[in-house]
C-alpha cells in the first residue's frame, strides 16, 4: 500500500501543455479520484503514474521515494484502461489470471489459490458466467468488467483505474459502482481513479481532485466539492441539474447590500454573505459584479410571496428531475432551474415567486462563460 505524491508535475507534448504544475498527495489506502471534462489531462496523469509517460518536470513519489526514472513493471501498479486491451486468444479466466502468472511476480500462487482469487473477483463484478468465454464473445460492457477484474485480481502498491466503468449502461453502472466500492474497502489498497462522471467520483472516493485544462481547480471530499465548490467551473461540473449561475451587481444603499441581476432579480444579502460576495467581485465599468450560484434544491417556488427577498419570474417550462418536478426560468442570459413539489403545476409564462435559501448561496470569480447558447 503506497502513499502517492505528485510535486509540481508538468507534462508537455511539443508546445502543448497537457498537465501544468499539478501537486497532490494520495494517502495510503485512499480512494482518490481525478475528474474533469475530456482533454483535461486526467489520463496523462495516470500514464505518468504508471510510468508509461515521462514527466517534463516535477517529481512523483511512492512512499517518499522518487520514481520518475522507474520503469512501469518496477512500480508495482495495476491498471485498467478505458480501452480494454484484453488478450483475444485467451479465455476470460486466463485474461483475469494473467497478472497472477506474470514472470516478474515473486509471489507465485498455487492453481487452487489462483482459481479462488479469480472467482472471487469475477463474483464481485458479476462476470462469473463469462469465465469460459473469449473476449470476442463479449459486449463492450462485459469486456470492460473483465478488464477491471484483471486489474484488481492482484494486490499491487497502487491501482490506477481509467474510466473503468464508463461503457456500462446506466443500471449496470450503479451496481458495478457499489461492487467496486465494497471491493476497495475490502482490499484497503491505494486507488487512483479517473472519470468524467461526477457521480462515480462522488460515490466512490474519499477525496476528489477536479482538473480543468491540465490544472487542478479543487481537491476535497465529495461533500466539500459538491457543497463548497471553489470555482464556478467546479460548481457547474458537479451536480445534476447543474448549479444555477448568474452574474449580479452588488449595490450598497442605506448600509444594506443588495444583489441585482437584471430587472426582476433583487435580493438583500445578509451581512456575512455581503462580505463574501464583495470579496469575489470584479469591476465592470462603474459596477461591482459577482458571480452567484445556487442549486435547484435550494430555491423555493410559490404562487405566494414568501419573504421580502422573494422575486417574480415567468415560468419558462416544467420538466422533471430525479428529485421531482423541475421548473425552468430565464434570468438574464442563462436559465435558472428550481425543484418544485410533486403534484404542483404552473402554466407556461405564469409569473411565480422565487425565494433563495441564502445559507446555500455561493459566490465566485468569473472563470468561464455561463450564457445559454
Amino acid at each position: 500500500m503506497a502513499e502517492v505524491r505528485l510535486e509540481n508535475v508538468t507534462k508537455k507534448y511539443g508546445r502543448k501543455t497537457a498537465v501544468r504544475e499539478v501537486s497532490f498527495e494520495c494517502k495510503e489506502e485512499e480512494f482518490f479520484s481525478i475528474i474533469g471534462p475530456a482533454g483535461a489531462g486526467k489520463t496523462t496523469i495516470l500514464k505518468i503514474l504508471a510510468g508509461i509517460e515521462k514527466v517534463t518536470s516535477g517529481t512523483i513519489y511512492f512512499n517518499d521515494r522518487p520514481v520518475n526514472e522507474l520503469p512501469p513493471h518496477e512500480r508495482d501498479v495495476a491498471m485498467a484502461f478505458e480501452s480494454y486491451n484484453l488478450y483475444p486468444h485467451f479465455s476470460v479466466y486466463d485474461n483475469i489470471a494473467f497478472p497472477l502468472r506474470a514472470p516478474k511476480r515473486t509471489e507465485s500462487l498455487s492453481p487452487q489459490d489462483e482459481r479462488q482469487r479469480v472467482e472471487e473477483i469475477a463474483e464481485f463484478l458479476g462476470i462469473t458466467s463469462l469465465l469460459d468465454r473469449r473476449p470476442v464473445q463479449l459486449s463492450g460492457g462485459e469486456k470492460q468488467r473483465v478488464s477491471l477484474a484483471r486489474a484488481m485480481v492482484r494486490k499491487p502498491q497502487v491501482y490506477l483505474l481509467d474510466e473503468p466503468i464508463a461503457h456500462l449502461d446506466a443500471r449496470l453502472k450503479f451496481s458495478t459502482q457499489t461492487a467496486l466500492k465494497k471491493l476497495s474497502r475490502q482490499l484497503g489498497t491505494t486507488i487512483i481513479y479517473v472519470t468524467h462522471d461526477y457521480r462515480e467520483a462522488l460515490g466512490l472516493s474519499d477525496r476528489v481532485a477536479v482538473l480543468r485544462k491540465g490544472v487542478i481547480e479543487q481537491i476535497g471530499t465529495p461533500e466539500e466539492v459538491y457543497h463548497t465548490p471553489s470555482t464556478d467551473f467546479v460548481a457547474r461540473f458537479i451536480g445534476d441539474p447543474p448549479v444555477n449561475l448568474t452574474d449580479g451587481q452588488i449595490v450598497t444603499k442605506d448600509n444594506k447590500t443588495f444583489l441585482v441581476a437584471g430587472d426582476d432579480f433583487t435580493i438583500q444579502l445578509e451581512k456575512g454573505l455581503a462580505e463574501s460576495a464583495k470579496g469575489r467581485a470584479w469591476q465592470e465599468g462603474d459596477k461591482r459584479v459577482v458571480r452567484c450560484g445556487i442549486r435547484s434544491s435550494h430555491i423555493t417556488v410559490s404562487r405566494d410571496k414568501i419573504s421580502d427577498n422573494s422575486f417574480q419570474l415567468p415560468v419558462y417550462a416544467i420538466a422533471r428531475s430525479p428529485q421531482g418536478p423541475l421548473c425552468t426560468f430565464e434570468l438574464n442570459d442563462s436559465f435558472l432551474q428550481a425543484n418544485i413539489d410533486q403534484g404542483i403545476y404552473y402554466d407556461m409564462s405564469e409569473k411565480v415567486w422565487l425565494d433563495l435559501d441564502q445559507d446555500h448561496l455561493l459566490f465566485f470569480e468569473k472563470t468561464m462563460d455561463i450564457s445559454k447558447k
Binding site: 457499489t178 466500492k181 462522488l202 461533500e223 459538491y226 445534476d240 430525479p322
Partner: protein
C-alpha cells in the same frame, strides 16, 4: 397536430426477423409520449414506421383516425430530428431552417416570419448567417430541431436528440424541448433507451422489449404499478431491490433465512391459492423510509454497510440486523448522509411492496 394510433403493428425483416410484434398504443393530440426500450427492443423500427421511412408488415398506423400506412413521409407531415444532424453544409443556418418552407412554396414574408419565430425560441438569432461547420454540436442539434419544427408538423418525432450532449446542455435542452412542445401544442413522440431522459420529459411512456409492448402509461403509473419485472427493472435508477420472499397470507409477505423471518404487511390482496408460494419482493430504493430512530411501527433494525454520496442524494447499502444476508439499497437526500456502521431503521410501507411470481410477472392486479 394529430392523434397517433398504433393498431396491432408488426414489422418483420428479411429472413423472418421479427422486430416489432402486434404493438398497439396511442398518443393523443398534444401529448408527449416516449417510446422507451433497450437496444434491440424494436423502438427504432417503430419510429421509422411512424415516420414512413419503413414499410409496415402488419397492422395500421392512423393519424387522426386516417390510415397513413401508404403515405410518404412528406404526405404525413412529420417532423423528424435525429441524433445525427444532417444539416446542408453549404447553406447558412437561415437557409437550412427555411428549406422545408421554401420547398413548399411559401411566400418570402411568411418564411421570414416563421424562421424568425423558431430562431427566437431556440436562441439561434445570432447565428442565422453562419454555416453549420462553424457551429458547436449543441448548436447544430438545435438548428436541426428548428428545421424540423418550423413547418408545424402533425407529429414531431425525436430520436435520441440529446443523449450525447453534456449534462448541463441536456438540462437546458430538456427545458427548451418541453417549452416548444407545450407552446406550439405539438404531438411529440420521443424515442430513447435512456429511462431518465424519458421520465424527465414525457407525460406517458410506451415501454418495449423484444419487439413487444410491455406497458403503456403515465410516468406515475409505470413507476408505481409496473406491469412486469422487466418494466420494474428498466425504469428507475438505482434499480428496484429484489428480495426472495413468500406469501404468508393474502395481505402478508415474508422474508426468511433459516429460522429467522420478517413478516411485512402488504397493501394489495393476493389470491388465497398463492399462500405459501415463493415469490420475489420488489422495493424501490427511493421509496424505502430510513430513520435514525424507531419512528414507525414495523420499522426494521438495520446497519449501514456502504454510502455512495451522489450530491443531490446518496445511495446507502443497508443490511438487516435480524437477517444479515439481506441487503437493500436506499436512496436518501444528500444532506443527511450518516456513517458506515450506523444503526438505522427501515420502513417498507405496505403500498411500496411489489410482488413478482417466478415467471417475473407481477402477482397482484390492484390494491
Amino acid at each position: 397536430m394529430s392523434k397517433v394510433t398504433i393498431d396491432r403493428v408488426s414489422k418483420t425483416y428479411e429472413g423472418n426477423v421479427e422486430a416489432v410484434r402486434e404493438v398497439s398504443f396511442s398518443c393523443e393530440d398534444g401529448q408527449f409520449l416516449a417510446i422507451l426500450g433497450p437496444s434491440g427492443s424494436g423502438k427504432s423500427s417503430m419510429l421509422r414506421m411512424i415516420a414512413g421511412l419503413e414499410e409496415i408488415t402488419g397492422g395500421e398506423i392512423l393519424f387522426d383516425g386516417k390510415v397513413v400506412n401508404r403515405l410518404t413521409p412528406s404526405q404525413r407531415n412529420i417532423a423528424l430530428a435525429f441524433e445525427s444532424y444532417a444539416l446542408y453544409p453549404l447553406m447558412t443556418i437561415y437557409e437550412n431552417i427555411a428549406f422545408p418552407l421554401r420547398a413548399r412554396g411559401l411566400k418570402r414574408s411568411e418564411v421570414e416570419e416563421k424562421v424568425a419565430f423558431i430562431a427566437e425560441e431556440l436562441d439561434l438569432v445570432d447565428i442565422l448567417k453562419k454555416k453549420p461547420s462553424s457551429l458547436s454540436g449543441g448548436h447544430q442539434q438545435r438548428v436541426s430541431l428548428a428545421r424540423a419544427l418550423v413547418r408545424e408538423p402533425n407529429v414531431t418525432l425525436l430520436d435520441e436528440p440529446i443523449s450525447h450532449m453534456d449534462q448541463r446542455v441536456r438540462a437546458e435542452m430538456r427545458a427548451r424541448i418541453r417549452r416548444l412542445h407545450d407552446g406550439l401544442h405539438l404531438t411529440t413522440i420521443y424515442v430513447t433507451h435512456d429511462q431518465a431522459e424519458a421520465v424527465s420529459l414525457c407525460d406517458r411512456l410506451a415501454v418495449l422489449n423484444f419487439g413487444e409492448l410491455q406497458q403503456i402509461g403515465t410516468v406515475h403509473e409505470i413507476w408505481n404499478q409496473p406491469a412486469n419485472r422487466f418494466v420494474a427493472t428498466f425504469v428507475g435508477e438505482p434499480q428496484m431491490n429484489f428480495l426472495d420472499g413468500k406469501i404468508e397470507s393474502p395481505r402478508e409477505v415474508s422474508m426468511a433465512a433459516g429460522e429467522r423471518k420478517i413478516v411485512l404487511p402488504y397493501a394489495g390482496s393476493v389470491d388465497r391459492k398463492y399462500v405459501g408460494s415463493e415469490i420475489t419482493i420488489g422495493l424501490r430504493p427511493q421509496q424505502i423510509i430510513l430513520s435514525m430512530k424507531k419512528e414507525n411501527e414495523g420499522a426494521i433494525a438495520s446497519t449501514v454497510e456502504l454510502i455512495e454520496f451522489q450530491g443531490e442524494n446518496a445511495i446507502l447499502t443497508v443490511k438487516l440486523s435480524h437477517i444479515e444476508s439481506i441487503e437493500v439499497k436506499v436512496v436518501i437526500p444528500g444532506e443527511k448522509v450518516g456513517q458506515i456502521g450506523e444503526s438505522v431503521w427501515l420502513k417498507f410501507s405496505p403500498d411500496i411492496i411489489h410482488l413478482f411470481d417466478k415467471q417475473s410477472s407481477i402477482l397482484h392486479p390492484e390494491t
